[in-house]
């Protein structure tokens, strides 16, 4: 997942994996706009820019299902792994993914 991340990535600890509820999300404000950190039913953690490609809806506030989240504004389903909309909205933009790794139960977000 991190193949594109260059060596000089700065990793920032934003909290414990357990701070994010299962099938839920937390919001991380950053100077470049908020990041949404998701934890899925099977325990995986993902991070996306906290804006739906449709109307900028805060994805961190949506319902997490499978490896996707439903935007709270107009119910677009966004793939957490790629940030791409699913179903009929496929191909209509993307919420950029944010580099992420887990170390000792902590969530580290990357900045290149």
């Amino acid at each position: 997942m991190n193949a594109h991340v260059k060596e000089e990535t700065i990793w920032i600890d934003v909290g414990a994996v357990t701070d994010v509820p299962l099938r839920g999300a937390r919001r991380v404000p950053t100077p470049r706009g908020a990041v949404a950190v998701f934890r899925t039913g099977d325990g995986r953690v993902f991070a996306l820019k906290d804006a739906c490609p449709h109307k900028g809806g805060p994805l961190s506030q949506g319902i997490v299902h499978g490896h996707a989240v439903a935007c709270p504004l107009h119910n677009w389903s966004i793939d957490l792994a790629t940030g791409e909309p699913l179903g009929a909205d496929r191909g209509k933009g993307c919420s950029p993914t944010v580099p992420l790794r887990i170390e000792d139960g902590r969530i580290l977000l990357g900045q290149v």
Binding site: V20, L22, H65
Partner: protein, 817 residues
């Protein structure tokens, strides 16, 4: 090798579709530039009627958004009308000095609506119905109670009138002929259509010639007819047809009659220039419907990519997009000496079908009230197959006919070509659907809709999509005869799910998903909230609410707004408030710099624009003044609207305010399948508008009339009288019993009026009027309320789910980029 340059004039349905078809065949052949006069991306013009009716939004009807142009390397000049074509230089010039050279040029300039040259046609409030600007002009004028006159009883005129009636206007269609849609319908179907429109609040004036548009102060006030009648109106829509837009072609000296003349390869009189769509005249014919345009685009794309298709003209069929009015028409219906008619009428169901035969073949069909077989008749007509041997059953439709002949009705679907178009609205052909079914393992209509958009717009191709599913999946596809599946994660309907939760003692979402064999690991945003509700309702006091299966509004007890802020509505029992409460609200507004304060339709105060992280503090202050959450965000009891009743009003017969307060206090906090709003009016003057609420009480001298099934949202419905009781106590008991029955029986998101339409008013009345069953319902409601009447704000203020409101903090600041 440099690419050839393809320039398209026109960013509408035809121009973009032509480009799509070209890209499908040879994505790398051309460098493509599109000029569009409208300053927006490509949208589905035929779906403007549902937008006008408020049934869809503009976002729903965009066909290709900006990403499509970008991803395909197409240069789009939107809002840049082309002014001339220099054929010698092969150059197109647009407004603002923009130029583009071409090797191949496509004209897709469409058509303009015809404006009748009536006196007064230039008054403000006189519009046509053609593009999104027209829709916006009309919706802006669509004040409830205002009047609109539509000149023209064709397809579009009727859809415009219906759409505006849906928006609360008094709509009248004025038509020159004696039959609506006379080019598509015979007199019988036209009559049924007139009646169906009247039921939907659209009046019809037939055989009426318009003479003058009258106005006052530059604004339209009415339409004068030749016979002297004046029809007053605040808005006048002209919908009398379209005229091919040929100005540029004419100026470039291409051959033009009524439209731009093209040959069977869609080529104009200049071999480098092609034309498609409504601006075209082919074999003497101009078209204004979508199907022929799609056919033209396919042929044109063949021609542009080295193929050799030929367009031979289209046979037309029409469907009307007016909710609940099923109309289909194709081919000839005028009849005459060499024709035979087969007619079927069912007055009870309001069905009329007429099949016109000539020389033993279908020459035309008019269907009203049941148009499901339209596509089948249309295929028979286009194929020119002899129908002599199925004559007796023909009018009963495909299933009956083929069933009786021992044929498999799916054979016809299986035989359909992959490039045959199934969904005209979204331009989806059979191959796209079958490969999506196979490639993505789709098994339900909903899933096909979600992935391909087929049948996701007007829905008239739904039966065909279901047949394709059935043909491909065989028994694995369960046709939705009867219950509709909860969502794409299951084949099971709401009714079955609810029954099995109780019968099998299923007490958690994973338990339900396991027992009922859900096809996804943890459901989706549609089924999880439904299951959560069913469990809350089935096991009060026992089931632990699953927060992650609630929509954000219910999770944080506030309404999310378009900018990501929230709105907060404190409860005001029965709409009554006090100086202390108002003061507390005013203080909160100042303290948190809340930008907007607004009174809601349910007599509560709405605080709009609250930041999420401020929510707990706002609630804490409101709680301190004794106010609790109004549940204005929830599928729950929201408000009980009241008038002042006998306490103040000289007409009031009972204490309607007191009853409203009591009902709200008994019922608040109750989760329901959909939002629930009540009203109590103190007399039949109905100042609380109780007869358009989910449950309404109208107080009369002799007691309390209890009404149910009203609505004033997407649908506007008047309530039906359910029962009448003599005392206030009985009214409260009966209403709680009704609510419990609704909670236990309705499907998630099903408003009371929809539930009532499904199960029948009589069935509900039978439950409520039986004293034992009413008592049992009331007891179950009262039991559930022991666990429901907890103020969610106070809980959150006390720290529950605090993580929901606090963002995660970073241990380190991001370094500057």
């Amino acid at each position: 090798m440099t690419k050839e340059r393809l320039v398209v004039i026109g960013n509408g349905m035809a121009g973009c579709r032509a480009v799509q078809e070209v890209l499908k065949r040879d994505p790398d052949r051309y460098e493509i530039t599109i000029f569009g006069a409208e300053p927006r991306v490509n949208y589905d013009r035929i779906m403007l009627s549902p937008v006008l009716a408020g049934e869809k939004t503009f976002a729903d009807i965009v066909i290709n958004d900006e990403a499509w142009y970008r991803d395909n390397g197409i240069v789009l000049h939107a809002g840049a009308p082309v002014e001339s074509i220099d054929r010698a230089e092969r150059l197109v010039r647009a407004a603002g000095g923009l130029e583009a050279g071409y090797d191949r040029l496509i004209l897709a300039t469409g058509a303009d609506p015809i404006r009748l040259p009536l006196p007064g046609a230039d008054l403000a409030g006189v519009v046509t119905f053609r593009d999104l600007d027209d829709v916006e002009a009309m919706t802006a004028a669509a004040k409830p109670g205002a009047k609109v006159v539509v000149i023209g009883g064709g397809l579009l005129g009727i859809e415009a009138a219906y759409g505006l009636a849906r928006r609360g206007m008094h709509a009248t269609v004025v038509h020159l002929m004696d039959v609506l849609m006379e080019r598509q319908l015979d007199a019988s179907a036209g009559f049924l259509l007139t009646e169906a429109l009247a039921e939907r609040g659209v009046e019809t004036v037939l055989g009426a010639q318009s003479e003058e548009i009258v106005g006052e102060g530059g604004q339209v006030t009415g339409l004068r007819l030749k016979d002297g009648r004046v029809l007053p109106c605040d808005l006048l829509v002209m919908s009398v047809g379209i005229r091919p837009n040929t100005g540029i072609a004419r100026a470039a000296r291409l051959e033009v009659n009524r439209g731009v003349v093209v040959d069977d390869a869609l080529r104009t009189s200049d071999p480098a220039i092609f034309a498609v769509g409504e601006c075209v005249e082919h074999r003497g014919q101009c078209y204004g419907l979508v199907a022929p345009i799609w056919e033209m685009c396919r042929t044109l794309a063949e021609a542009l990519t080295g193929g050799a298709g030929a367009y031979e003209g289209s046979v037309l069929s029409t469907r009307l997009k007016v909710s609940g009015v099923d109309v289909f028409s194709a081919g000839e219906f005028a009849g005459g000496g060499d024709c035979e008619d087969i007619v079927f009428r069912d007055a009870g169901r309001g069905v009329y079908k007429r099949i016109v035969l000539r020389e033993g073949k279908v020459a035309g069909a008019v269907l009203f009230g049941d148009a499901a077989d339209g596509a089948w008749y249309f295929d028979l007509m286009r194929s020119g197959a002899s129908v002599g041997d199925i004559r007796e059953t023909l009018v009963f439709g495909q299933a009956a006919t083929e069933g009786l002949r021992g044929l498999d009705p799916s054979a016809a679907v299986a035989a359909m070509a992959d490039d045959a178009e199934v969904c005209g609205c979204n331009g989806v052909c059979k191959g796209t659907i079958t490969s999506a079914i196979a490639g993505e393992g789709l098994a339900t209509l909903e899933a096909v809709r979600a992935v391909t958009k087929a049948s996701a717009s007007c829905g008239s191709c739904t039966p065909l999509v279901e047949k394709i599913l059935a043909a491909q999946l065989g028994d694995a596809f369960q046709v939705q005869a009867g219950p509709k599946p909860v969502c794409g994660c299951t084949h099971r309907g709401h009714g079955e799910v609810r029954k099995r939760i109780l019968a099998e003692g299923l007490k958690s979402i994973p338990a339900v998903m396991q027992a009922l064999e859900w096809t996804t690991p943890d459901g989706c945003a549609t089924c999880r909230p439904a299951l959560n509700y069913y469990l809350v309702c089935a096991w009060p006091g026992e089931y632990r609410d699953d927060k992650q299966s609630r929509f954000i509004n219910e999770r944080v007890h506030a309404n999310i707004q378009k900018d990501g802020t929230y709105s907060v509505v404190p409860r005001m029992w029965g709409g009554v408030t006090s100086a202390a409460e108002l003061r507390a609200i005013a203080d909160v507004v100042e303290k948190f710099a809340i930008p907007t304060v607004k009174v809601t339709g349910g007599q509560r105060v709405d605080l709009l624009g609250v930041k999420k992280e401020d929510l707990p503090a706002v609630w804490a202050d409101l709680n301190r003044a004794g106010m609790v959450s109004g549940h204005a965000y929830g599928k729950a009891l929201r408000t009980v609207k009241t008038c002042v009743g006998s306490e103040w009003c000289r007409f009031g017969t009972q204490d309607s305010t007191g009853l409203g307060v009591r009902l709200e206090k008994v019922m608040w906090g109750a989760w329901t399948p959909a939002k629930l709003k009540l009203g109590v009016s103190g007399c039949p003057r109905n100042c609380a508008e109780a007869t358009c609420k989910d449950i309404g009480v109208v107080c009369v001298d002799s007691g309390f009339e209890i009404h149910i099934g009203g609505a004033a949202g997407l649908e506007v419905k008047k309530t039906e009288l359910l029962t009448k009781v003599a005392s206030e106590d009985e009214a409260v008991w009966a209403i709680c019993a009704i609510v419990q029955l609704y909670r236990e029986d309705a499907w998630y998101l099903e408003r009371i009026w929809k539930w009532m339409a499904r199960v029948g008013l009589d069935a509900i009345r039978a439950e409520i009027e039986d004293p034992d069953r009413r008592r049992a319902l009331y007891d179950r409601f009262a039991y559930a309320q022991r666990f429901a009447r907890i103020d969610p704000w106070a809980e959150r203020v006390a720290g529950r789910d605090a993580h929901e409101f606090n963002p995660l903090t970073r241990r380190m600041e991001f370094a500057p980029a």
